[in-house]
């Protein structure tokens, strides 16, 4: 109870401090450049000066945070990746050389590649199909809401949910995992799915697909609804059937949205960590880069050099998407 109270107090203080900054900085600005009780000309000058400074007052906290928590760490991570485990001695590219020779890294890279191929493709495809189908049934909104729901569940919660599904009990006893129960019902033999090499990767991916399909569905559903109905009607008059309309008229019109969904999920996949940590912690050849990085960050007191090197590799994989995004944003702003 006392903890709850102190939490509340700390919360209020934190929020108040932030609000205080903005009010106080504006008050100070108006004290330095007053607009009341001074001559008209002075007022005009003061208003202009204040207007020159004010955007930076508004931006300062944001820029401070972005700089300290994102920009500086990116630079620092690159630097640290060239240093030893404690970050003290310069070791050149030794960390990278070690990395590329490491079997664990090769395995992670391969697994990550597999994740990158499977998860965005499956999520986007399923999302598109579900969006198209739910648009056509009257209770589609409820269906969408339920498919979208896993978005609200933490990766770790989702892992527990799916671990329960993959649960394996030794032969002879009753299976309480849904998957094994179904397999046995169909006449197969129960398997410890999580430890089956190669296939276990796919079982982990199912979890992320389960979460991300809702996201893809929501965005693609909006895109599908954004298609001018006239184009569909024209195709109907031209004698196209439903499947033809879907693939030849609708899909081409939402390509750019599909690309957006695809890249967004790709970024999520590159950062995926919680699922692997919770399900296998990288055992049974399911290691991925993000989890390996986390591992090295703390392993044996933490090897910051190697950890940073892995982070840099992830960053490099993200850069193409980053450039594409910036281009898109610029094009959009110019269009405005």
């Amino acid at each position: 109870m006392t903890h709850l109270l102190s939490s509340l107090v700390i919360m209020l203080l934190g929020v108040a401090a932030c609000g205080f900054y903005f009010v106080f900085s504006n008050w100070l600005l108006l004290r330095i450049f007053p607009v009341r009780r001074v001559s008209l000309q002075q007022q005009a000058v003061n208003i202009q000066r204040a207007a020159l400074i004010r955007p930076w007052l508004f931006l300062a906290p944001a820029l401070g945070f972005l700089g300290l928590y994102l920009v500086y760490p990116v630079v620092e991570s690159v630097r640290l990746s060239l240093f030893d485990r404690g970050g003290d001695a310069f070791v050149g590219v030794a960390n990278y050389r070690w990395l590329f020779a490491s079997e664990e890294f090769q395995e992670s890279l391969l697994n990550n590649l597999l994740w990158l191929l499977v998860v965005p493709a499956c999520s986007t495809f399923l999302g598109l199909v579900i969006a198209a189908m739910t648009d056509k049934v009257r209770w589609g909104n409820i269906a969408k809401s339920l498919v979208f729901m896993p978005m609200a569940i933490s990766f770790i919660g989702a892992s527990i949910i799916w671990k329960f599904i993959y649960e394996y009990r030794g032969e002879g006893s009753e299976q309480i995992g849904l998957l094994n129960a179904v397999v046995e019902y169909l006449g197969g033999t129960a398997q410890p799915w999580i430890t089956l090499h190669f296939w276990n990767n796919l079982f982990l991916m199912v979890i992320l697909v389960w979460i991300q399909t809702g996201f893809a569905m929501v965005i693609l559903s909006a895109a599908l609804r954004g298609i001018p109905e006239e184009t569909v009607e024209a195709a109907v008059l031209d004698g196209a059937n439903g499947v033809q309309i879907f693939f030849k008229i609708m899909i081409p019109q939402i390509w750019s949205t599909i690309a957006v969904v695809w890249t967004t999920i790709t970024i999520t996949v590159l950062k995926v960590f919680d699922i692997v940590l919770a399900m296998t912690n990288g055992q049974w050849k399911t290691q991925v880069l993000a989890n390996m990085m986390y591992d090295w960050m703390f392993r044996g007191g933490g090897d910051f050099g190697r950890g940073a090197a892995i982070a840099v590799i992830i960053m490099v994989a993200v850069i193409p998407v980053m450039i594409w995004n910036i281009r898109q944003a610029n094009a959009q702003m110019e269009g405005r």
């Binding site: 008209l40 007022q43 005009a44 000058v45 208003i47 202009q48 207007a51």
Partner: protein, 384 residues
Amino acid sequence: MTGVKLSNIRKSYARNEVLHGIDLEIELGEFVVFVGPSGCGKSTLLRMIAGLESISDGEMYIEGALVNHIPASMRGTAMVFQTYALYPHMTVYDNMAFAMRIAKESKEVIDEKVHQAAELLQLTEYLGRLPKALSGGQRQRVAIGRAIVRSPKVFLFDEPLSNLDAALRVQTRIEIANLKENMPGTTMIYVTHDQVEAMTLADRIVVLSAGKVEQFGSPLELYTNPANLFVARFIGSPAMNILPVVLEQSGPHSLIRFTSGKTLSVPVASELMEEGAELQLGIRSEDLLLSDKLNALLSGEVQFVESLGEMTLIHVKCKESDSIIVAKLVGIIELHKGQTVHLSLMADKVHLFNTEGHSLRYLDQQSCDAGQQAEQPDLVTDNV
């Protein structure tokens, strides 16, 4: 004292100049309309007066004070936007009170002024409503009320009627005209692309085109004595008919020859012109008359007839002109497509334009005026 004075005002975006030196003197309490085709810079000029756009070059005075560097909030202007720009989350009352609250006026003053304005605009019963619960006309009245309560020196309207339907537009136009009567000391500047609004509301009209003032004068002056081809074509509907002619004989009265060879003497001075010069003749559609073949100056085939009851518009393809000539004839006239008609024109209503497009009559009049009032530099002839 002048209400608003602009002296060689220029505006550039990057290296692109959109206003090329505007000179205007708007009298205190005058209602001036800026009119021109879209993209002519009229809205930009208005926004510069409001202080929403910076002034690239030149000087701007409001009631004698230089305002180039005075921010919008201190110029004493109030603006009514085309989209009303009401604050959607505030009631009508709060919308009108906003500016005074910012200025830290007392509650009583705010209350009094808001109620005064609401009464004037018949908004009293709507004071507690949000803008989304009002009709388009009511919203526009709130926008006007928001401007009134500030007792501005200059009242600016940016196409305030464009978002209203036709019936409401007429009604609101009358309300704005009444407002003008009620606020005699307030200078009002009104931007529109609709010449009917311009003609009915304005004390004086500024015709702008491509960032320049084409003419500044009273509505009737613009109609009867356009300074140039642009104004001649822009003011009036249907547009003035333009025909190519040749100056046969110059003098206080000019003798002109049509392409058909027929000649006409018109009371327009052309003393400085060379004989044989190519001119453009302008004649308003109501100044054309049906005539017989013998006395006709123009003849051609009827292309199209618009019977409006009180008048009949006929579109005629004449040999004398490349373009279609439109004649406005009083009453109902039985004419059919394909029929040949003969037209004559009222010589004293004829305008002549030189190759630069300037009206000979207007130039003549300006030089007379300049002679009489040498002490007052003429703002418009500078451009001509």
